[in-house]
């Protein structure tokens, strides 16, 4: 019996419909919701993400290059190819170079006389360096020094003994700051990139121009060519680009100032 009943139950179970309706509807609903969601997302996205600026395919290659230094701002570290210029002050006379230490062989037996000689040599090297520390004021200085107090012109010594000494030819001594201003303005205005790179280093072109009372440069012309047309032209352009060097100092009597300026590649 029990086997039959079991068999009946089995039969019933086999004949009974499989409960797929609920999962099927669930699945249908889920897919419907997914599809609806995608459509809705597209609609809402299209509604809100209204890209007025068209496609994003506007890009292409991107130029990587730098702007020239023509901003009216000082350049803290001017470009300098001169190998003679150093960051550190050199001392004159140059301190003796420390002798290279002889390679010490650990296995070698120490010879009494030799080791003493080496020590004496080391002492001799140190002594001149100590003497250098209080720097004599009258010696020549090379290399970088802090806050140079150098006169801008030798004319200052003989030409001006107070406000009465207003002669011709002492502009640079009386208005050194204005000359510095000309240099500063020209170095930001001159674009070295315009010069042909085959120009030999150190080539100089000399310009002559006139600065009027309001500071505007006029009559820019090449005085002595450097031999490189691009260098000549770039220097002339640099001077022509300057709108004004600033009004001439009020204490300066003449109406114009002649300037001879060189650009060195």
């Amino acid at each position: 019996m029990s086997v039959l009943i079991e068999g009946d139950e089995k039969l019933e179970l086999e004949l009974a419909k499989e409960p797929i309706a609920a999962p099927a509807t669930g699945s249908l609903l889920l897919h419907g919701a997914l599809a609806g969601g995608i459509v809705l997302y597209g609609m809402i996205g299209g509604f809100f993400h209204h890209n007025e600026w068209g496609s994003q395919g506007g890009g292409g290659s991107i130029q990587v290059s730098l702007v020239s230094s023509a901003l009216p701002l000082p350049n803290d570290q001017p470009h300098n190819d001169n190998v003679l210029a150093t960051e550190k002050p050199s001392q004159a006379p140059a301190p003796p170079a420390p002798k290279e230490k002889q390679a010490v062989d650990d296995n070698a037996l120490a010879i009494q006389g030799k080791t003493q000689q080496q020590k004496q040599q080391q002492k001799q090297i140190k002594t001149p360096q100590r003497q250098m520390t209080p720097q004599p004021t009258n010696r020549a200085q090379y290399g970088e020094q802090a806050g140079s107090q150098m006169q801008r012109s030798t004319m200052a010594q003989g030409g001006s003994n107070g406000p009465a000494a207003v002669g011709s030819g002492d502009f640079a001594s009386r208005f050194g700051w204005y000359v510095d201003g000309i240099n500063r303005k020209m170095s930001t205005s001159w674009n070295k990139l315009e010069v042909d790179s085959r120009t030999p280093k150190g080539a100089r072109v000399f310009l002559i121009f006139t600065i009027h009372r309001d500071g505007t440069p006029k009559d820019v012309q090449v005085d002595r060519s450097s031999g490189s047309p691009t260098l000549d032209r770039s220097c002339v352009r640099g001077a022509q680009r300057v709108d004004t060097f600033g009004g001439l100092p009020a204490a300066y009597n003449s109406s114009t100032l002649k300037v001879s300026y060189y650009c060195e590649y």
Partner: protein, 448 residues
């Protein structure tokens, strides 16, 4: 390195001295390149208080602080720190020992000094600028001021003296210490136009419209502000008179469609703006009175944010969407000679430098989903399209605007939903935040 080069002008100037003695009418100067592009080492001495008026110490403190910060902000000086300067407060050129200032640790090439006194409600200031290295003829500048004794006036006098020093030593470019910055602020709840001094001081509200007002542009003579404002007819260009303290009419800016981003020409005679009254946003130009309106561009896609070349007043730059994403373009004022300046990405908000040589704008060079990089301020030389990135990896930067000296740029920096006004030198250094309260947008630097 610097001193090495100073030897060459010495010889040049000896030459100058020898040749020039024969010339009577004018002097000769012989000089050359690589001789002086470093910053001028300048010391600002504390001014000497004179007299026993109780107002003097407070005014002196304001004056000293303002003068120091103006000179430090100028961008052309290496300013001697107050702690390195000599202890003495010289009140006149007779009292100063220049050797003390030109020696270490201050190493000053120039010293600004003077005396300040208040009496009977008047503030009197004597200021000098001395060349510390030229002991024979040190005086560069001597100036006297006599104004009403107030904190505001002490600040103004310090601004004027600083501007004079900057003009004299900065190669004839006027200082910006007395300029203003106009901007949008929502700190009262609605977006209104505000104004402040160039250093962020003295912030005050200009318009009280209770609507939304954006993109202020002050006229070159500092009398009017053009801006766009939301009204019943949509966005319209409106004009606010700073002299009358109220809105004045600008009929060209009120027609249908969105009228946005006005821009004054350098002579103050014309205003360019973008308007969508004919469909797409296009650039339109009108007289400053609002008459003689005409359309300049007719491209597919939006064309917005015009800016004039203030040097020539004959060219416009703007953000054009005619090739897809917005790019900076330039054209003549009649719409001819269109040139695209940027070659990709997303470039907006151009501003043309006072010398006509540079454009600054906001650029996202790698725009798109998943692309790294942010909206940064860039500088471009319009003659060769070479560019320089000024801001790096700090928020989203937009709306740059040139200062009249061509050395400073003010811009909006947003991080998250918070936007503030910042300023920097035109090489991207010395970035400072100017506003600290509420949200502040779209700065515009006045012309003088």
């Amino acid at each position: 390195m610097k001193a090495f080069f100073r030897f060459s002008p010495l010889f040049a100037l000896i030459l100058a001295g020898m040749t020039a003695t024969t010339v009577a009418a004018q002097d000769w100067v012989h000089t050359g390149t690589n001789l002086g592009s470093e910053r001028i080492r300048l010391a600002a001495a504390d001014f000497k208080p004179v007299g026993g008026d109780p107002q003097t110490p407070a005014l002196k403190a304001v004056f000293d602080a303002t003068l120091y910060s103006d000179l430090a902000n100028a961008g052309i000086f290496d300013l001697v720190s107050k702690s390195m300067a000599p202890q003495a407060t010289p009140g006149s050129p007779q009292e100063i020992n220049l050797g003390q200032w030109s020696a270490a640790p201050s190493n000053a090439a120039m010293v600004a000094l003077g005396a300040l006194s208040a009496s009977n409600g008047r503030l009197s200031v004597y200021g000098w600028l001395e060349d510390a290295r030229n002991t024979a003829n040190p005086q560069v500048l001597a100036q006297q001021y006599n104004e009403q004794a107030s904190q505001e006036m002490a600040r103004t006098v310090a601004h004027r003296f600083a501007d004079l020093i900057i003009l004299r030593l900065g190669g004839g470019i006027n200082g910006i210490a007395e300029t203003k910055i106009y901007f949008v602020s929502s700190r009262t709840g609605t977006k209104e136009i505000w104004a402040m001094d160039y250093d962020g001081q003295n912030q005050h509200q200009v318009t009280h419209l209770g609507s939304v007002s954006i993109s202020p542009r002050v006229s070159p003579d500092n009398t009017r502000i053009a801006f766009s404002s939301l009204s019943g007819q949509g966005w319209s260009i409106r004009m606010y008179s700073l002299e009358l303290g109220r809105l004045v009419s600008f009929p060209a800016g009120t027609a249908g469609g969105s009228n946005l981003s006005p821009a004054w020409s350098g002579d103050g005679k014309k205003i360019a703006f973008s308007s969508s009254r004919s469909g797409d946003s296009e650039i339109w130009v009108a007289d400053a009175s609002g008459g003689n309106l005409h359309r300049v561009t007719s491209f597919k896609g939006p064309n917005v944010a015009p800016t004039w070349n203030p040097k020539t007043n004959a060219q416009l730059a703007w953000a054009s969407g005619r090739t897809g994403l917005p790019q900076i373009s330039t054209m003549d004022q009649d719409g001819a000679n269109v040139q695209r300046m940027t070659d990709g990405g997303y470039a907006i908000s151009p501003s043309w430098a006072p010398n006509g040589q540079f454009l600054t704008f906001s650029w996202n060079r790698k725009y798109g989903p998943g692309a790294p990089g942010g909206q940064d301020i860039y500088l471009m030389d319009i003659s060769n399209l070479h560019w320089l990135q000024l801001t790096h990896e700090s928020g989203s930067n937009d709306f740059p605007s040139w200062a009249p000296d061509g050395r400073h740029i003010v811009f909006e920096r947003a991080s998250g939903r918070h936007a503030e006004i910042w300023t920097m030198l035109a090489d991207g250094t010395e970035q400072h935040q100017l506003t600290h309260s509420g949200n502040n947008y779209m700065p515009n630097w006045s012309w003088k």
